[in-house]
Assembly symmetry: C3
Homo-oligomer: 342 residues x 3
């Protein structure tokens, strides 16, 4: 864990809190309340965690005012209106305090014709190809591959081992985690009697602003045109986005999901873990797809889907209850037949 050293007073100052106890008490880390560690900071924002206030090993707790009584507590208390929000504010401040890396580290490969903005970090062993452009304050960690003519916007973070292939475009404020591959060839082959002949994959990938993509994802380039990940969409780890897929804004896609070629996805959808979506269909807006579902036909706005192939969520659940009782159901049919033949 990261080491940090702050006094209760300092913390209270940042989140405008009221101290109960010794404001000089110093914390050296943060813990979840269920597993508080000595000398750490944690928070209690819901009454179901209130029992931890008196038993925690933590030195300092941020607690919502409405959960407090007028008495002394073992840990130092920082009373605030909403402990959860205050804790988030604090963690964001803390992360900002860590600062950004800047500068081009020795041992990176940087083509003469590549351009970088101000305040950029390029880690050792990162390879930046010809005519690539990297925007202000973007951090590119070690071992990244940036292909020809790639454009990356401002304030991005590209983690170690990510690969961004030729002519792909990344917007502002994007995060791409380790070992994710953006712009690999789409899986396109022409069957012939002698075998499969590769169809050239000449398009690119466009990642709009405020997108986050987890680790070990594969986002393939379009055959022609662009594979698109829309503004604000968040993609977890180990996810497959095939060629020519177009994903709209503010979608959340959980780990190990896969979306096949040319499918179009709207805005504000929630796609569960290990979901598969076939190619060439349309998913509307605000659709929820349960984990492990297999979607093989288009979905309208607001639908909730489940199963493989996926159907309406409630129907699947109800039918699955019958599936669980299938042996009993068959017995009932046996009984009916037996009575009939009597």
């Amino acid at each position: 864990m990261q080491t940090m050293e702050f006094s209760a007073e300092q913390i209270a100052g940042l989140i405008n809190g009221r101290i109960i106890g010794d404001g000089k008490t110093v914390i050296t880390g943060v813990s979840p309340i269920e597993n508080g560690q000595q000398g750490h900071l944690s928070f209690v924002g819901q009454s179901r965690f209130s029992n931890h206030i008196d038993t925690t090993e933590c030195a300092v707790l941020i607690v919502s005012e409405n959960l407090l009584e007028t008495r002394d507590y073992k840990p130092v208390i920082i009373a605030v209106e909403d402990a959860y929000i205050s804790f988030q504010v604090l963690m964001n401040l803390y992360q900002e305090m860590q600062g950004r890396k800047t500068g081009i580290e020795e041992g990176s490969f940087f083509h003469d014709t590549a351009q970088v903005g101000e305040g950029v970090y390029i880690g050792a062993f990162t390879y930046v190809s010809e005519k690539a452009k990297i925007g202000d304050n973007t951090q590119i960690f070690p071992h990244v591959y940036i292909g020809k003519g790639v454009k990356i916007g401002k304030n991005c973070k590209i983690d170690s081992g990510a690969r961004i292939y030729d002519y792909c475009i990344v917007g502002d404020n994007c995060v791409i985690h380790s070992n994710t591959v953006v712009g690999g060839d789409g899986f396109g082959f022409q069957p012939t009697a002698d075998g499969f002949k590769k169809i050239p994959q000449l398009g690119n990938v466009i990642i709009e602003d405020d997108v986050e993509i987890g680790s070990n994802c594969s986002i393939d380039r379009a055959t022609i045109g662009s594979t698109i990940i829309g503004k604000g969409t968040k993609i977890d780890n180990l996810i497959q986005i095939a060629h020519n897929v177009k994903i709209g804004q503010h979608n959340v896609i959980a780990s190990q999901a896969g979306i096949a070629g040319s499918t179009i996805i709207g805005d504000w959808n929630q796609i569960g873990g290990q979901v598969g979506i076939v190619g060439h269909i349309k998913i509307g807006n605000q659709v929820k797809i349960q984990a492990q579902s297999g979607v093989n036909s288009s979905a309208k706005d607001g639908e909730t889907l489940y199963g493989s192939p996926a159907i309406n969520y409630s129907d699947y659940r109800r039918n699955y209850v019958h599936f669980r009782n299938f042996t009993d159901i068959v017995k009932r049919i046996n009984d009916l037949e037996n009575k009939k033949s009597e």
Copy 2:
């Protein structure tokens, strides 16, 4: 997107087409016809896309002769017998024009005892271990790891971040995409009372000619002997091939599928996305396995499978229709029972 500059005349010359309009018109990119962009080239090969001919923003269209009338068109037309095929020919020519990289880039690690053929490219930060051999005209991009005694054939392309471990063999004309791991240890452990004891994984992986493997795949080495990917087989992204699996020729395996240890797969099979195949079984030839299926027993030539566990495709579909109506079916049984007891 890549920038390109060709006149309609140049393009017509390459594909033996007839120009309708101004042959000097220059295109600067290619677009899919549904989303044609100004100054771009596209194609219309099917009548259902004919309506785009008059409305497209594209500057130049390749169109099949049978879709054309004798009149003027807004875009410049290049008339050919089959627009789809001509477009593919063109895209292949274009890709060849891009050329190959050659030479050993400064900053790569190349063991004294490793050998390379002619016209090879080795990117910066690529590591080539002792006694590795790399065939003529093969391109190995930056950040690749090539283990001891690895043999790679001619005309291959190994993308940034691929790892090819000790003693693995790759044939001619293979493509291995970014961050794919060839020859990691198989998952073999001996259970003991104290825990699991690793079984040494001393075999290798053999990848035959004309194989393409997508990004972020894991192809494990055999415990002893070889894991084999047969000639012409195409493997998409994020796929697991376990130790001692043997895959025949000209198979197509879609994204996120997994094949467990020692399973043997024949030729010309189609394995859908997210399919799981258990270990120690045999899949014949020309078998089709629908996406998300779980195959837990051997399959004969020509079968089509679906479901988890997988059964005959048509049976699964028919039974799943009943599953969707399960609540109605149970009502019918209730009715029968009620009438009975009347």
Copy 3:
């Protein structure tokens, strides 16, 4: 395949075996018995493989005494009590003979404040950040990223392209395969009207002793606190372990499984390939989860689960038999209804 050269005598000496035939015979590799190659060593430990003893191409076979007759054989035989165990002993000895790499290779990046123990190997292009500590006899192959303050124990092997992010801890005797990412950000976002706001992920990952993690896995850091992989647990390839998951000791998790956030898993469980486990549940000890199952509620010690959503294994199997016969079952209901209405 690795080349090796040992005489039958040398091998017999290592495993205390009795030679039948010419002890000077030299082997140059090992083969599985089903596919024995000329000049190779193999073994026969079960009577169902006895037929290979006379037909194999192998030069030398290790055979269990009870499978042998008193006669001559074509291959040289090394008779031992249990051929399987003797072969394992031999393969382990062989692997140890290969030795470990040591030394810090030129071309690695090593921060001034990082510390290494004795006998450590750091490959070229590996990046070791400030205040990282690496224990004795640990091997870190090329292209690895080690973040700030990371601690790695003794006798570990970290393969090419693995990424271990800031403040993560790895115990002794661990193996982390290529391109696995340990300590990437957990997938945590706060929904707002304008889009999803990132929740800082400030915890770490703790990997206890004797853990092996395959290639292309994603093990996310905790939001606060630690994601934990317990002692002796073995994780296959392409696996997702989300933030704040706690996995106990001696679990085996097969390829492409995924475990969602904050779930707690006990000891000695077997989790099949492509299994999904939802967040915030508890899995006990010695639970078996069949491949492709979707576990969405807590499981008690010793349960065996199957299906999506997962239910008791035997129930799922029995119900699935009815599912396979669903069309017949519906016909039976039709018949009952028809007879009724007659």
